[in-house]
Amino acid sequence: MTDLARLRPVDERISLKYGAGGRAMRALIEQIFADGMGEVPGGVGLAAMDDGAVIPIGDHRWLVLTTDSHVVKPRFFPGGDIGRLAVAGTVNDLAMMGATEPLALTCAAIVEEGFARAELERIWASIRATCVEAGTTVVTGDTKVMGRGELDGLALNTTGVAITDRYVRDCELRPGDLLIVTGTVGDHGLAVMATRHELALEIELRSDVAPVNGLVRAALAVGGAGVVAMKDPTRGGLASALAEMAGKSRVGIEVREPAVPVSDAVRAAGELLGIDPLVVANEGKVVMGVRPAAVDAVLAALRAHPQGAAAAVIGVCTDERPGAVVLDTGFGRRLLSEAEGELQPRIC
């Protein structure tokens, strides 16, 4: 069941579901944004819908380019803020293409009239700190101020650029490859949701938002060409990332749910809200497809890194049901499909 094959036509009006990272968004990109655009001979263009573009610059080297826009409610949440999210999101998209040394970032800000200067300073302090962490800086930008009510506070856009001598795609899995996730899943999405819905939980939820280029660098250093696919499971969570990888690579994926690291706090909040941590956004994790011969070395390198201590092998690629992700829950088996539309807490 490759869902890529049957995307619906985009509606007359663009509703919120088109930004939720699932099939609706892919339909919008495929049918409108990518139509007739962005072919890159010898590289990766828009139609590939990968984490970034790859442009050959000769000498077996490639320019990697990616861009992200950020609006988050609330702008500050446990573990991070919109500034950290913007920098980490862009650095991570570069890293997912195998480019772990970001040359530079751009940052454009659209600010609502009346926005507090103190809050901007706080957000830019966070942007600076996160850039230092990722080993990069913001080299150019753009500023717009819009009238009150024309925008909800602040929107940021960041673009990142890097040069690499090897790039990694999200479509090169083959049967037998193993899938690694670099740590606990669901932390970011549930932390933001708990803050947004003002849930009075007795447990501490913290976003995992962080640049992961250092972690990826460590894995690529030992895994080399054995690391064949990477994706950061942001919107749509682990489920969406795996579905995309399975669909694009035309393999089946079998995941052992008990092997997927989930923190106690995330598990409890997920149960309370009726939201599966596997469909919730992460901002500091990576799903890697690794050839069997490289798995031990990659796993050891990840676990030796402070961001990868909980890294685990969670599943395997098969030649059965190409495009489908089957979840073995320990009790039975089911399909792991992507969440669609906005995630909403359920009743009771």
Binding site: R8, D11, R13, S15, K17, G22, R23, A24, H197, E198, L199, E254, P258, D264, R267, A268, E271, L273, G274, D276, E320, R321, V326, L327, D328, T329, G330, F331, G332, R333, R334, L335, S337, A339, E340, G341, E342, Q344, P345, R346, I347, C348
Partner: protein, 383 residues
């Protein structure tokens, strides 16, 4: 219940033992293949657990577990949604549970109304809606749905004296009467019911005793962890095969015979049962919970003039005529038999309520794959 306790009910080894026991009792029934043993659960959370943990793939041949009208969002009828939409379009601020947003009414859902400029807030509890009302000057109507469990929370808020700008549009429903309807439905194949553990914490298992006496079918109260669901099913099938029609409590850590009397007192002090339609099912006598006259000041139906006629210019979309939600919730049909399922009706463009709610059968089947054959090929299965 804390996490460690919950984990005791997620032990795959004990689950396998229960699956074996289930197979044993189903084999004892020795049914012909065209007449499987059919049981119904009346709770969206049971379907969630079954789907979420992949339990359907482990059920033995010869057992059919039907999902009944146990999703409160799905059984909320079109006129009830229309009342909320009409109020929202009249400019009244509405707060409701996230699941209710996209339930289709005659012309619009609340999500449509919001996209067109109406003020609609998503809350995750009635308490949160009250807090929101306290921060506002304007009127706030809480569009309340859910069964007796959530209705008690609504009742508690009313009794505690909410702010003057707060009122309730009740779509609350009461489960026991609809079980009568299903049991009496002509052509029903249901031989036993799995009843919802959380509702029974309020009502007590004793509420099912008269039902069992009238219909001579067993009822087992079960919880929501995988082992709870499996243990409940094992007991239910055992009672059916033994011809032993009685109420059994497979959730004793939370449920007793009499339930929470203080909660029941609050429920019936605030609400009265009234007959009304459940979407796709039937008119259910005493199936709707409405605010009593003594609490009229908190009742949005009495506080506002709701102009439903304004919605009647819109004919219902043609696709709705083919929707099988009603038959699916009554256990007569299944999503795979519906011509719209997965094609014209999907979670991002739902036609029927069963595709909207995260507890709806169609949504759950769409999300988790219904009952595809997922056995590994090594075990001899072909997809």
């Amino acid at each position: 219940m804390n996490d460690l306790e919950a984990l005791r009910f997620r032990d795959p080894v004990r689950a396998r033992a229960l699956v074996d026991a289930l197979g044993h009792h189903v084999r004892r029934a020795a049914r012909p293949p065209d007449r499987p043993l059919a049981v119904m659960h009346v709770c969206g959370s049971h379907e969630q657990a079954i789907a979420r943990f992949g339990l359907r793939a482990t059920f033995p041949e010869g057992l059919e577990v039907i999902m009944g009208p146990g999703c409160p969002v799905c059984v909320t009828d079109v006129p009830e949604v229309d009342e909320a939409v009409a109020l929202a379009r009249q400019g009244v601020r509405i707060a409701t549970y996230g699941d209710m947003l996209r339930v289709p009414g005659t012309a619009q859902s609340l999500a449509d109304a919001r996209a067109a400029g109406a003020k609609v807030d998503v809350v995750y509890s009635v308490t949160q809606a009250v807090e929101l009302a306290r921060r506002l000057e304007e009127e706030l109507v809480f569009f309340a749905s859910g069964f007796e469990t959530t209705a008690v929370a609504t009742a508690a808020v009313i009794l505690a004296g909410p702010p003057a700008n707060f009122s309730i549009l009740s779509a609350h429903k009461y489960i026991p009467p609809v079980m009568e309807i299903v049991a009496e439905m002509p052509g029903t194949r249901v031989e036993g019911f799995l009843a919802a553990g959380h509702a029974a914490t309020i009502t007590g298992w004793g509420v099912f005793t008269p039902f069992v006496a009238r219909h001579r079918v067993p009822v087992v109260v079960a919880g929501f962890e995988p082992l709870d669901v499996l243990a409940g099913l094992v007991r239910l099938v055992e009672l059916i095969v033994d011809g032993d029609a009685r109420v059994d409590n497979a959730y004793p850590r939370c449920v007793d015979e009499h339930g929470n009397r203080a909660a029941q007192a609050m429920l019936w002090q605030v609400f009265e049962p009234m007959g009304g339609r459940w979407r796709g099912i039937a008119h259910v006598p005493n199936g709707n919970l409405r605010l009593r006259g003594a609490h009229a000041r908190w009742d949005a139906r009495r506080r506002f003039k709701i102009d439903l006629a304004a919605l009647w210019d819109h004919a219902p979309p043609a696709l709705v005529q083919h929707c099988q939600c009603g038959d699916i919730m009554a256990g007569i049909s299944s999503p795979h038999a519906c011509p719209l399922f997965g094609t014209a009706c999907t979670p991002d463009a739902p036609v029927g309520a069963c595709m909207v709610s995260t507890e709806g059968t169609c949504r759950i089947w769409h999300q988790y794959g219904g009952r595809p054959d997922l056995r590994p090929r090594a075990a001899g299965a072909t997809p």
